[in-house]
């Protein structure tokens, strides 16, 4: 199977295109690691195979279940935004394999630094999906304890978290632990200076960190060729560590490659860049309109490579799952959707005084003063109410 060529897209007509006319970089269609074809056929791939060689049918069903439930949760969140229950939602539709494969490769003691779209990874880490919705509903700016699942808060300013992951990994190495750290980011963030600096720092300190780039082809409206002239995974070479491109819609390949990269980190071999080549099937967020910048045919081409369908085909053709499994999962999926709906609708608005909470760990005189002023102001209305 060939990698989706960037040339297949509609030619861009902007003035800038000419200056970057050398846009077919050498090796524009590099090898990508694949273990499961879009048609659901299991293929061999050298050393990466060893990382999933002993995977059981039950584990395969587990990966399928993870992807289905994550997609269901994601669809529910999109609906909740449309119903006005959430202010915004960033859908992961199409990226389930990249997230579940890599997320399931992590160990409990590993630490994950996500962007704002890693709902599938959060699922793998055991974060209650309804916890992810607080910031999108506007009741908090985070909402979970990062240390309870070793899953850091969503980071909205893209790329910043790659440095936090690198620093955390430097700490892991100092502690002599064999945990690993994984930093998620996208093709858009790959242009950020912080990502470049995290590559530099992780390389010179040999930090046990995996940079997991989901290249979903679009940074809102900008295609990957607006971010790079070389395939993203090749950037690692310049920093002195390995980079590999994996079929981001192949959950098995993502699992295998991420395990390989995490094992390298654990063995003290330093950072790895994994580029999961995938596609953002939906809009950037619920505020976005992709019809303004990309063609339907492109999405259709990627739909044929759907991450969930290919694993279903494989499960069916290899007799690893029966009708009962799929029916049961369908029911579980609906129940999840229902629970998410109910929890979100019942999510209380925060207390007004939450504005002043946790601004500082050790307190701050000005915050105390303003809290008191705010309290007095609020109390003035209470008096009015009583007067009437």
């Amino acid at each position: 199977m060939t990698v989706e060529s960037t040339a297949a897209r509609k030619p861009r007509r902007s003035a800038g295109t000419k200056r970057t006319a050398a846009k077919k970089p050498p090796g524009a269609q590099p090898d990508l690691v694949q273990l499961l074809t879009p048609e659901g056929k299991r293929v061999k791939n050298g050393e990466y195979d060893t990382y999933v060689a002993d995977i059981t049918p039950e584990e395969l069903r587990g990966l399928y279940r993870d992807m289905v439930l994550t997609r269901r949760f994601d669809a529910e969140a999109t609906s909740l935004q449309r119903q006005g229950e959430l202010g915004l939602w960033a859908s992961l539709l199409g990226q389930e394999a990249a997230q579940i494969g890599s997320g399931r490769a992590t160990r409990e003691d590993d630490y994950v630094f996500p962007t704002y779209r890693e709902h599938g990874v959060a699922w793998c880490r055991g974060v209650d999906p309804t916890n992810l919705l607080g910031m999108f509903r506007g009741v908090n700016n985070g909402g979970w304890d990062p240390n309870s699942n070793n899953f850091h808060l969503y980071t909205i300013v893209i790329g910043s978290q790659t440095l936090h992951a690198t620093g955390y990994a430097m700490g892991v190495a100092k502690d002599g632990a064999d945990s690993a750290v994984i930093a998620y980011f996208g093709d858009g963030a790959s242009s950020q200076g912080d990502v470049a600096e995290s590559f530099t720092f992780s390389a010179v300190y040999n930090a046990p960190v995996v940079f997991f780039c989901q290249n979903n082809q679009w940074a809102i409206s900008e295609p990957t060729e607006r971010q790079t002239r070389v395939p993203l995974y090749q950037r690692a070479q310049g920093y002195g560590f390995p980079g590999v491109r994996v079929d981001g819609n192949d959950v098995l390949a993502c699992l295998a490659v991420t395990k390989w990269a995490l094992e390298r980190a654990r063995r003290g071999e330093g950072p790895t860049l994994v580029e999961a080549y995938t596609y953002r099937m939906g809009a950037h967020t619920t505020s976005d309109d992709p019809t303004k910048y990309r063609a339907d045919e492109e999405r259709e081409a990627w739909e044929a490579k759907d991450p969930i369908q290919r694993l279903r085909t494989y499960l069916e053709t290899s007799n690893h799952a029966d009708e009962g499994f799929f029916a049961e999962l369908e029911a579980e999926s609906e129940a999840l959707g229902k629970r998410v709906r109910e929890v979100v609708r019942a999510m209380p608005d925060p207390d007004h005084f939450a504005i002043f909470e946790n601004v500082y760990a050790d307190g701050h005189a000005l915050v105390d003063e303003e809290r008191a002023q705010f309290a007095a102001y609020q109390a003035s209305f209470a008096d009015e109410g009583e007067g009437k």
């Binding site: 700016n141 985070g142 440095l163 700490g171 995290s198 005189a365």
Partner: protein, 326 residues
């Protein structure tokens, strides 16, 4: 043990050494902080004694330094980061403002960010551009950060101890032109609170409020004014976030006049906030509007002009006279 006389830079060095000794989680990070001991030698000898793993020479990337310090703090470390010069902090400004300052709140208090960012600041050393700036207001404006600046060796020692012990991010502005000024440091003293101002000279006619490098200038101003029969009180603010308005208020209620002095541009500077708050708190006590002396709304000038730019003895005295003339 009696007090020991030492330079301000040496006091910070000793304080870092004490912290490294006391807590294995304390790390020093920055450009040239290791073998070289920092361009001002503030970290001199620390890498030799505590090793490369704890006194870390970093790549030349300020955002990377602060961003990785955040990650180390999340892992349980207490990084003390050096930004080589005031004007070099801006590549890290995003990490400081967007990430470091807000992360504790975003996590609803579940995680702490005990990161100290040391920044040698201010002018008066004849440096090239970007080496003499005073950007403290840009940090004090940001909720989630604490901002302090010592004016003498003893405060430098103790405030650094307290900054490292703080579970909040602290921006520690070091008055670089006072690095070599010596004063007594008593390492067995019991320091006052980190964010409390201190009256360093008592007076009755007017209050001068300053911090960092300008405290010494204000003390000289007060001495000169004394000869003219004017009694000036000098308050060393020590902390720009939070600001100890209570101490300033107490002083102004006594003297009824306030002049705020800093190197940073006057416009929207720390003095603007102090003027507004003290006017509100002391409206019926004031005999004159709160006046400010500081830098101009212009890029920090080339070294041969900095004497004109920096508030010196004469310019502060002139402002004192203006206040007293009301």
């Amino acid at each position: 043990m009696t007090a020991e006389k030492m330079a301000l830079a040496k006091a910070i060095n000793e304080s870092l050494r004490t912290a490294l000794d006391a807590d294995p989680k304390v790390l020093i990070m920055g450009e040239d902080v290791g073998k070289l001991g920092g361009v001002f030698r503030v970290t001199d000898g620390l890498q030799k004694d505590f090793g490369e793993d704890r006194v870390i020479d970093t790549p030349l990337a300020e955002s990377g330094i602060v961003g990785t310090a955040i990650g180390l703090a999340l892992r349980g470390y207490r990084p003390v980061v050096e930004i080589q010069f005031d004007g070099f902090v801006f590549p890290a400004y995003d990490q400081i403002v967007t990430q470091l300052a807000k992360m504790h709140a975003r996590a609803l208090g579940k995680i702490k960010l005990p990161v100290v960012i040391r920044i040698p600041y201010g002018g008066g050393i004849g440096a090239v551009e970007h080496h003499s700036e005073s950007p403290e207001a840009l940090f004090a404006h940001v909720a989630g950060l604490k901002v302090v600046s010592p004016s003498n060796a003893s405060d430098a020692y103790w405030m650094m101890q307290q900054a490292i012990q703080s579970d909040d991010p602290v921006i520690f502005f070091e008055p670089k032109r006072r690095y070599w000024d010596k004063s007594e440091v008593n390492r067995e003293a019991i320091p006052g609170p980190l964010h409390k101002a201190r009256v360093v000279r008592e007076g009755s006619d007017l209050t001068l409020a300053a911090y960092g490098p300008m405290v010494k200038v204000c003390q000289e101003v007060a001495a000169a004014a004394q000869e003219e029969g004017k009694s000036l009180e000098v308050v060393d603010l020590r902390s720009m976030s939070p600001i100890d308005f209570d101490s300033v208020q107490a002083s102004v209620e006594k003297t009824r006049r306030l002049v705020v002095v800093h190197e940073a541009p006057v416009f929207l500077g720390t003095g603007a906030e102090i003027a507004a708050r003290i006017t509100e708190r002391c409206f019926y006590h004031l005999e004159a509007p709160v006046l400010r002396v500081g830098g101009y709304h212009a890029p920090y000038p080339p070294a041969r002009l900095e004497e004109e730019y920096l508030p010196g003895l004469d310019r502060v005295l002139d402002t004192v006279d203006r206040s007293l003339a009301y």
